[in-house]
């Protein structure tokens, strides 16, 4: 219903966060995606996470590639600058944007076609470089905008809506992210808001390359029996390894967990991540253990979700490049141009 402008009217009792923003301040245009699309649930979860974290909307830059998922930045954070770039190439644009101004929060929204097929190279290299960002793939296993072709994350043997079978091996972006050095890796399901919101909040608080793969069924082309990305299938095979809760400093703990099953993790922004362990022996601070666990559960047909890995002391691209504290886009000729004195030395050295 894109032709309908969003009403500006606000309910007087609408909740306000610490910075005085309401949910409405984090919304964007009305979604043009299909009714029931998992991607819209993810957009809501992002909005909720920003609200909870008291983020100033204009201090976020949202970037995407091409595809259904890549349209969604338009449907959230209307006061943020957005960049809908070219197919599969958002990671490089985000890398450049981040280089220019390290002070903003960079949100990359992509899909399985955009990140696992055409953009696989850019995805892994962006993560490798340690770009400080939240990178979310809205993973539905199909190309929605071109009406239902398999993507590279479709499981072998999956059935397409048109009746075809996928003979190719699937590509798991979560394993890939772990392998190439993401310092925050999570997976979730668009049908599970209680898992998604704290996971996105934790990723936004993480000062390094944070990646979340969110399985998000395509109601139009991949929600049938025989698809491993359908709502019913994911619900039946979802194996959450933990539950998260983000708490701001000094705030009372709301949720009570059985003793010995929770862990408090201090995050860089001063808040605390409360981690409730669902799989008793799962350690999300062990990269190699996480990779082994993922592989063995995948072999058993389960989809591991939750906080899969976190390095709580990451170094990001700017640290690696040893850049100055001020954003590069704020430096002027005074700081950048060596002037005629510099040239005199150059000319002398070359005569």
């Amino acid at each position: 219903m894109t032709y309908i402008a969003k009403p500006k009217l606000r309910h007087p009792g609408i909740p306000v966060n610490k910075r005085g923003f309401t949910h409405r301040d984090y919304e964007g245009s009305i979604s043009t995606l299909c009714a029931g699309c998992g991607h819209d649930s993810i957009s809501f979860a992002i909005i909720q996470a920003c609200f909870e974290l008291n983020i100033e909307p204009h201090r976020v830059a949202k970037l995407s590639g091409i595809g259904c998922s890549s349209k969604t930045p338009d449907y959230l954070l209307g006061q943020s600058h957005g960049f809908n770039s070219v197919h599969g190439r958002m990671p490089s644009v985000l890398t450049g944007a981040n280089l220019a101004n390290k002070e903003l929060l960079y949100l990359g929204v992509s899909g399985d076609g955009d990140s696992a097929s055409i953009g696989l190279g850019q995805f892994v290299h962006c993560v490798r470089r340690g770009v400080n960002m939240v990178y979310i793939t809205e993973n539905n296993g199909v190309y929605g905008l071109t009406k239902g072709q398999f993507s590279a994350t479709a499981d072998k043997g999956s059935k397409s809506k048109a009746g075809g079978f996928n003979a190719d091996s699937p590509l798991d972006l979560v394993s890939m992210a772990l392998m190439v050095g993401a310092t925050f890796v999570g997976r979730s399901f668009s049908g599970d808001k209680t898992q998604m919101v704290p996971l996105i909040m934790a990723a936004m608080s993480h000062p390094g390359p944070a990646f979340i793969d969110i399985v998000s069924p395509c109601v139009a082309f991949n929600n049938h029996a025989g698809s491993t990305k359908a709502y019913d299938f994911v619900r039946a095979h979802n194996e959450a390894v933990n539950r998260l809760d983000i708490m701001e400093p000094r705030e009372a703990i709301k949720v009570e967990y059985a003793p010995g099953t929770t862990e408090d993790v201090a995050l860089h922004d001063g808040s605390t991540l409360k981690l409730a362990k669902l799989a008793a022996d799962y350690d999300p601070f062990d990269r190699i253990g996480a990779m082994n666990y993922l592989q063995s559960r995948a072999a058993a047909g389960e989809l591991v979700t939750g906080l899969i890995y976190m390095d709580n002391g990451p170094k990001d691209m700017h640290a690696n490049l040893n850049t100055v504290d001020a954003p590069l886009n704020r430096l002027s000729e005074k700081e950048l141009c060596p002037g005629s004195a510099g040239l005199a030395a150059y000319n002398a050295a070359h005569s």
Binding site: H58, F83, N84, S85, G121, H125, L321, N329, N347, S351
Partner: protein
């Protein structure tokens, strides 16, 4: 036997095997002549290989200051048996062949119209050194020593250069001096009077500096305020990024904190490199990439995005021989069209075309002003000849009062004051809209950047009229660009000219020499050196003033002619194309012959 006799005006060519350490010895040879006050230029002709293939180094000595390639060879230093026949054949009659006579070469392999200078270099080197690598490296220094004696280069000058070169490795100075002396003394004792080419001390170099274009380009980007560079290694552009890194380490490290006022990313490919440049520029940093033809091919989709979404970007294209992998270590001017009209759909891009390292420095610095002013990609089109060869050019200059033109960026204050912001709205009549940077204002000025069609307020639209309105504005913006890019350099002949000649880029020094020679023969030509695309009115005015205009290009398809015909609506028959595209640097002799032949044809036709 005739002997070419010349003082301060000849061509020496070294034929070597790459990886043998000859490059630094040969460069020292060229520098020693410069230090004697005699202008030289050098051209390195190298393979896409690290060790074992033929490589040449050509030194043009010109007291008169002709800095292009002349054509022909007066003295061949033949150190590579693989290319012997071709090397011997390329010597001008009466010229000299200097070679390593340690192993016998059959008489049939020589010519009787050239002068042979024999020196048992391997024998001498092997007798003096035991280590095989030393034998190889010092052999190069030995022949430089011999040449200094043969040509009259002061050996003290060479000794001083060795001292400068090994400033930080002092132990190497004495053995190099010794090798130099060894060669020099052998020539003095055995080869006196063998060569009539001489270098005589002069005062013709002045304040000029000897630099490669790629080094100048890297420096130009530092001066232009680039803070982000993203690149992928490709010959012949790699040394631009490396030079930028080197100059940044020198000029851009904060003294107090030791932190960098720059960021350099070696991307995974050229697509990523241009993407990073676009992302950084979108977010208000000055950013560039350096690449060559194949990289330009890969960047096409992103270049269309930058054009259509109006994002600044600077692309330094060091052109090489195409198409495909083509001749990666040879020079050409064959990326004009792929850059001017890069990407699918209707696009036009700004090209800057420098003539030498000095102008390249200037254009690189200026390109960031243009990119931000015009909010569009700016291509700096240099080539392998300018980029990778040492050129003698005027010292670089910078006006300390100069400030950066950051273009139309709406500030938080302006937004707060209620100034209307439409990302694609032409408010000033120059078709350049205002942009805002991410994070500027809490509630005003945010917009969605996209490669899809949108209205003046950046709202998605596939309506025909809205799309056309935007495309027309982009055309008008390109009109604005005409007044901002460097104007062509037009020079009138001393006598009234019937014809004009157009040239651009690295053709310039050979062209100057050719023009002087043609004028001496009574052929006078007005000239226009193109420096940018789009073309201003001065360009078509120049062409329209003559019935026939020569157009000298270093490509097969006369790409500049296509651009001129297409953009200025000129009758293609007015142009006489002179095309040089074998990958070697264009020579003055080639231009002279091509123009003289055509002129005599024309005068003969007129007489008949």
């Amino acid at each position: 036997m005739s002997q070419i006799k010349s003082v301060n005006d000849f061509v020496v060519k070294f034929a070597n095997v790459n990886g043998s350490g000859s490059a630094s010895a040969n460069e020292m040879f060229a520098r020693s002549i410069l230090r004697m006050g005699v202008p030289v230029t050098s051209r390195n002709i190298f393979p896409s290989n690290i060790q074992g293939l033929p490589t040449w180094y050509e030194v043009r000595v010109s007291g008169k200051g002709w800095l292009g390639r002349r054509g022909g060879v007066d003295l061949m230093v033949a150190m590579n048996p693989q290319t012997w026949d071709k090397d011997v054949a390329s010597i001008d009659p009466g010229g000299y062949l200097f070679y390593d006579s340690s192993r016998p070469i059959p008489a049939s392999k020589f010519r009787d119209d050239i002068n042979i200078i024999r020196m048992p270099l391997t024998e001498i080197s092997n007798a003096a050194y035991k280590d095989p690598r030393q034998r190889q490296l010092f052999k190069n220094i030995i022949y430089i020593g011999a040449l200094s004696q043969l040509l009259g280069i002061e050996i003290e000058v060479l000794e001083k250069l060795i001292g400068e070169q090994y400033k930080s490795k002092e132990a190497l100075i004495a053995p190099n001096h010794q090798a130099l002396r060894m060669g020099h003394d052998y020539a003095r004792d055995h080869l006196s009077e063998a060569c009539n080419l001489k270098v005589e001390r002069a005062n013709e170099v002045g304040k000029r500096i000897f630099v490669t274009g790629n080094d100048a380009a890297g420096l130009g980007c530092v001066y232009g305020g680039a803070t982000v560079a993203a690149w992928y290694p490709i010959t012949p552009s790699t040394s631009v990024a490396e030079a930028f890194a080197k100059h940044c380490r020198k000029y851009r490290v904060d003294k107090e904190t030791g932190k960098n006022k720059f960021a350099i990313v070696q991307s995974e490919d050229e697509i990523s490199a241009i993407g990073t440049v676009i992302g950084a520029s979108w977010n208000g940093a000055r950013a560039f990439t350096a690449t060559s033809g194949p990289g330009i091919s890969l960047m096409q989709e992103f270049l269309g995005l930058a054009y259509f979404a109006e994002i600044p970007a600077v692309i330094i294209d060091v052109q090489r021989g195409g198409p495909s992998t083509g001749m990666p270590t040879r020079t050409q001017q064959s990326d004009l069209l792929v850059c001017a009209y890069a990407s699918h759909g209707d696009t036009k891009h700004v090209l800057l075309i420098p003539e030498d390292p000095r102008e390249l420095f200037e254009f690189c610095a200026k390109s960031f002003d243009l990119a931000e002013r015009l909010q569009t990609p700016i291509f700096v089109l240099e080539d392998l000849d300018i980029g990778m060869n040492d050129w003698l050019c005027e010292p670089f200059a910078w006006d300390d009062k100069r400030t950066y033109d950051r273009g139309k960026v709406m500030t938080a204050q302006e937004l707060e004051a209620g100034k209307t912001f439409g990302r694609y709205l032409d408010v000033d009549g120059d078709a350049i809209p205002y942009r805002t940077l991410p994070g500027t204002h809490p509630s005003k000025g945010a917009y969605f950047t996209r490669g899809s069609s949108r209205d003046r307020f950046a709202k998605y639209s596939e309506e025909g009229a809205v799309y056309q309105d935007n495309m027309q504005r982009l055309l008008r913006k390109f009109e604005t660009a005409k007044s901002l890019v460097p104007a062509p350099v037009i020079e009138k002949a001393r006598e009234k000219a019937k014809c004009g000649v157009i040239y651009f880029g690295s053709t310039a020094p050979a062209m100057r020499e050719a023009l002087a020679a043609l004028a001496a023969d009574g052929i006078h030509l007005d000239t226009m050196r193109l420096r940018a695309f789009p073309f201003s009115e001065a360009v078509s005015d120049f062409i329209n003033a003559y019935d026939q205009v020569f157009l000298v290009e270093q490509n097969r398809d006369a790409q500049m002619r296509s651009l001129l015909v297409n953009e200025c609506g000129i009758d293609p028959a007015r142009f006489i194309s002179i095309l040089h595209y074998d990958g070697q640097v264009i020579t003055a002799r080639f231009i002279i012959n091509a123009i003289a032949e055509r002129m005599s044809l024309t005068s003969r036709e007129a007489a008949e």
